[in-house]
């Protein structure tokens, strides 16, 4: 069977086209496309920021433009790039992995994509409507109140995030119901691929966390448009209420961003180690523990707000606690590799890269749980370094691993391994060069969100190094885009199961037919395809 380029023939869009499709595979691709596009835009914003900061007292960007750029960069990367990418992969893969023909509510699925996209468009429309929001991605009150942010930027922020959030919440309901009620016979919840587990846990996180953000946005809108006083001290309100609500959402949000990526590498590592995942139960269970704990750590973003030593100590304890289930996963991944036969494909390189970078990000995170250290380095470039190590070094590398792994399933063609290796190593060098120096910059006093800095501070050289790293990262992303475009057109044909993998999505064609499977496969273990291919080596029950 000939493989035809993606945009010419994709099951689910044949009769109705991209705009009206309700097929989870097409919607998955739409989400991924949205994520890729906004990742590029967010990346350009980052390059602008780094160009401005390369030298002290630089005047490339005026402060207003810079402040809009870092605000929109944060919102874009988190809500318009990473989350849609992860939801896109989940949409595409979950029904396939559990042997289902589609998600529970296909039309709602389409709605959630379009809402997510429209939310992003609303946010960017602000550039044309008097200025983008410029109060930071977490838009603290009272800076975000009418008195201090009189333009319409923050209102577009509120509207864009609310609409985008609605899409994400609906998507989470869909995925949760799909996983709970549409597994094929034999696919007990204890046998689903770990990516499915992570998707389920992530959906629960979304459903618990996003409403708090919606509530905060509504309150801010009431303040701004109806003269309310939720966050206005002069009127009896409190600025800190915004922070509590926002971070009650914001902390689970970072796990929403990392757990699915952890699910991805939990699929990639076993296949390229040719061993089952070590400690399936513990990897699954630890993600439940993380989800539970993630609702109890939010005030570690607020240690310097003055809540008091007792409150700070409690959140310090819970924040340290949450490091334990995270560490458990890392040990289980390494144990999966021990005794295996490792094929270092590009997907595997990125998976290993995830672990290596996430260890660094995790360690800096634990240091931030130590209140006195946090009081020194919070709101500085140390935190910027930490968050990029876990979200780029972690999540993005995981997404790249997933891309190289599942691109063949989605398109019928393999990505180039040669270009892939260039992509990986250039990313690795560029990423570390960009963000490693920022730990030191923060420790010696450079705060976040500054459009420039005095020459007398001596922060110039490390900033320049960081900017050079960003330029290298840009080259890495170019290599990736070239790989994507070339492979879509003329990549090597993949076949059903190019990696000799374990799970059900590889038991159908690449790309799968509209109904996913021509016959529902029998499932008697966690590696149903492996069991079918190698019955003599099937897993012990």
């Amino acid at each position: 069977m000939t493989a035809v380029p993606l945009w010419v023939r994709l099951p689910g869009t044949e009769r109705v086209g991209w705009l009206r499709t309700v097929d989870h595979k097409a919607i998955g691709v739409l989400y991924i496309g949205m994520g890729v596009a906004f990742f590029a835009i967010g990346g350009l914003e980052a390059l602008l920021l780094r160009a401005q900061l390369a030298t002290p007292e630089e005047r490339l960007l005026d402060p207003e433009t810079f402040n809009q750029a870092f605000t929109v960069h944060g919102v874009t990367m988190i809500l318009l790039a990473v989350v849609p990418l992860l939801v896109g992969f989940a949409n595409y893969l979950v029904p396939l992995m559990i042997g289902a023909p589609d998600v529970a509510f296909p039309r709602l699925n389409a709605l959630s994509f379009w809402l997510s996209l429209v939310g992003g468009i609303v946010l960017y429309f602000s550039f044309l409507a008097g200025g983008a929001p410029d109060t930071g991605w977490f838009s603290y009150a009272p800076l975000s109140e009418r008195a201090f942010a009189p333009g319409t930027g923050v209102d577009y922020y509120i509207l864009g995030l609310a609409v985008n959030g609605a899409g994400t919440i609906i998507g989470a309901i869909n995925l949760a119901v799909t996983i709970l009620l549409m597994r094929c016979p034999g696919m007990a919840i204890s046998r689903v691929p770990l990516f499915v587990w992570m998707t389920l846990v992530t959906s629960v996180l979304i459903l618990g966390a996003y409403p708090a953000l919606t509530a905060a946005l509504v309150m801010l809108l009431v303040d701004r448009q109806l003269g309310g006083h939720f966050f206005d001290p002069a009127g009896g309100g409190q600025a800190v209420l915004w922070q509590h609500l926002f971070w009650f959402f914001g902390h689970p949000e970072v796990y929403i961003m990392v757990l699915p990526a952890m699910g991805m590498i939990s699929e990639v590592i076993p296949v390229f180690s040719r061993k089952p995942i070590f400690g399936y139960g513990f990897v699954a269970g630890s993600s439940v523990a993380i989800a539970f704990l993630s609702f109890g750590v939010w005030a570690h973003h607020m240690f310097a707000v003055g809540l008091g030593d007792t409150e700070n100590a409690i959140f310090s304890a819970t924040s340290m606690l949450i490091a334990i289930p995270t560490g458990v996963k890392i040990f289980n991944w390494i144990a999966t590799m021990v005794g295996g036969r490792l094929r270092m494909t590009t997907a595997m390189l990125f998976a290993v890269g995830f672990i290596a970078m996430f260890v660094i990000g995790g360690l800096s995170g634990v240091s931030l749980a130590v209140v006195p250290i946090d009081l020194a380095v919070t709101d500085s470039y140390y935190v910027v370094a930490h968050l990029h190590y876990v979200l780029f070094g972690g999540t993005m590398l995981g997404i790249f691993a997933g891309t190289y792994y599942w691109f063949p399933k989605m398109t019928g063609r393999l990505l180039s391994e040669v270009l892939g290796r260039w992509h990986f190593w250039t990313t690795f060098v560029g990423f570390n060069l960009t963000f490693l120096p920022q730990h030191w910059l923060g420790a010696v006093g450079m705060p976040r969100r500054v459009f420039t800095y005095a020459a007398s501070t001596g922060w110039g050289p490390l900033n320049l190094l960081s900017t050079i790293g960003a330029a290298i990262l840009a080259v890495a992303m170019l290599i990736f885009f070239v790989n994507l475009v070339r492979s879509l057109r003329a990549g090597e044909i993949a076949g059903d199961d190019p990696w000799d993998a374990f799970t059900l999505e590889w038991a159908t064609t690449s790309p799968p037919p509209p109904e996913n499977f021509s016959s529902i496969p029998a499932v008697t273990g966690r590696r149903p395809l492996w069991d079918r291919k190698h019955p003599e080596l099937r897993d012990a029950p």
Binding site: P63, Y140, P142, L143, F148, P233, Q238, A239, V240, S273, R274, P276, I277, F278, G279, G281, G306, D309, N312, A313, S316, A317, L321, I324, G327, V328, F331, I334, A335, V338, G339, L342, M344, V352, I355, A356, V359, L363, V366, S367, V370, V371, P372, I373, L375, A376, T378, D379, S380, V444, G445, P447, R448, R449, V450, T452, Y453, A454, S456, T457
Partner: protein
């Protein structure tokens, strides 16, 4: 009493050392696994199939837990120490954050942007904000603390050595957040007493033509110069502005050979140096600008 910065520094070293050990261990295991078990190294046969070990899981759950428990206990100890509990401060200074400058009040004596404190003395800053959230942070002197409108937070300062220490606002507060720098001058007790005494006095120059220019313009609607009728409070107190090391909360130096030139440049066009600052550019003749600059610099 130990300076808070020292206490945090010690804790950072301990946590950092533990982190490095863990880093070496885990990354080492990762690198080892890749090298040892890469497919090119082995001949035929299927790989191992072990996929669980309860004892191992318990071990590598308990071990980090233990390490974290130790770190947590150390954390509690340092938290108590840097909060300054049990040590009464010799002095309380009220610090108010404004967009984009600092107001300091020593029992009613007001100054701006430059904080003077005596060495070897525990001091409490009472922190609040006149508008949005700011954060007071001088890294060499200790932790940071946010300044919120409607709330008073406290920060213990304790500096061992005399000298000049730099810091910066550490909570994004708007367009000129980057130029809200802090200078803390730590002095001997006698030097500090002399400085505070001087700050408490009204302006030392007699009324001059230059001062009349100041009083005739809108400067007075935002600024105070004690001893005159200028009583504005929206902007920094200028009674002793000439004695400060910088202008505009750090955006221009006030101590080099061009001391008057810098002040003049600022007055002529503050928006050029701090775009978005709430101080407008007031159209004045060149002669008036020269006189005004010289006048302000003379307010030592």
């Amino acid at each position: 009493m130990r300076p808070p910065a020292d206490a945090i520094g010690t804790l950072s070293l301990i946590v950092g050392a533990i982190a490095i050990l863990i880093f070496i261990g885990v990354e080492g295991a990762l690198v080892f696994a890749i090298w040892r078990y890469r497919a090119s190294r082995h001949v035929a046969g299927e790989p191992a199939t072990f996929e669980r070990n309860k004892r191992l899981e318990i071990a590598w759950t308990a071990a980090p837990g233990l390490i974290l428990a130790v770190i947590f206990v150390l954390t509690l100890g340092t938290m108590a120490e840097i909060s300054g509990a049990g040590v009464t401060p010799a002095m309380r200074i009220a610090a108010t954050g404004h967009q984009w400058w600092w107001e300091f009040s020593y029992g009613g004596v007001k100054t701006a942007n430059e904080l003077h404190i005596p060495a070897d003395t525990p001091i409490d800053l009472d922190l609040t904000s006149a508008d949005v959230i700011h954060s007071f942070w001088v890294p060499e002197l200790g932790p940071k603390m946010d300044m919120l409108p409607g709330i008073t937070n406290h920060l213990r300062l304790f500096a061992r050595r005399a000298g000049s220490y730099e810091g910066q606002c550490s909570e994004f507060c708007g367009i000129e957040h980057a130029w809200m720098r802090i200078r803390v001058v730590v002095q001997t007790q006698s030097e500090f007493d002399a400085w505070l005494g001087l700050q408490g006095k009204p302006r030392t120059t007699v009324e001059t033509a230059a001062e009349k220019i100041f009083l005739a313009n809108i400067c007075v609607s935002c600024h105070t110069v004690r001893g005159t009728d200028a009583k504005g409070t929206a902007g920094p107190d200028l009674t002793h502005v000439g004695s400060r090391a910088t202008i505009g909360a750090g955006v221009l130096e006030n101590t080099d050979a061009n001391i008057v030139a810098n002040m003049r440049a600022w007055l002529a066009d503050p928006q050029r140096y701090k775009p978005g600052a709430l101080m407008p550019s007031v159209p004045l003749s060149n002669a008036d600008l020269d006189a005004l600059a010289a006048y302000l610099v003379s307010l030592k």
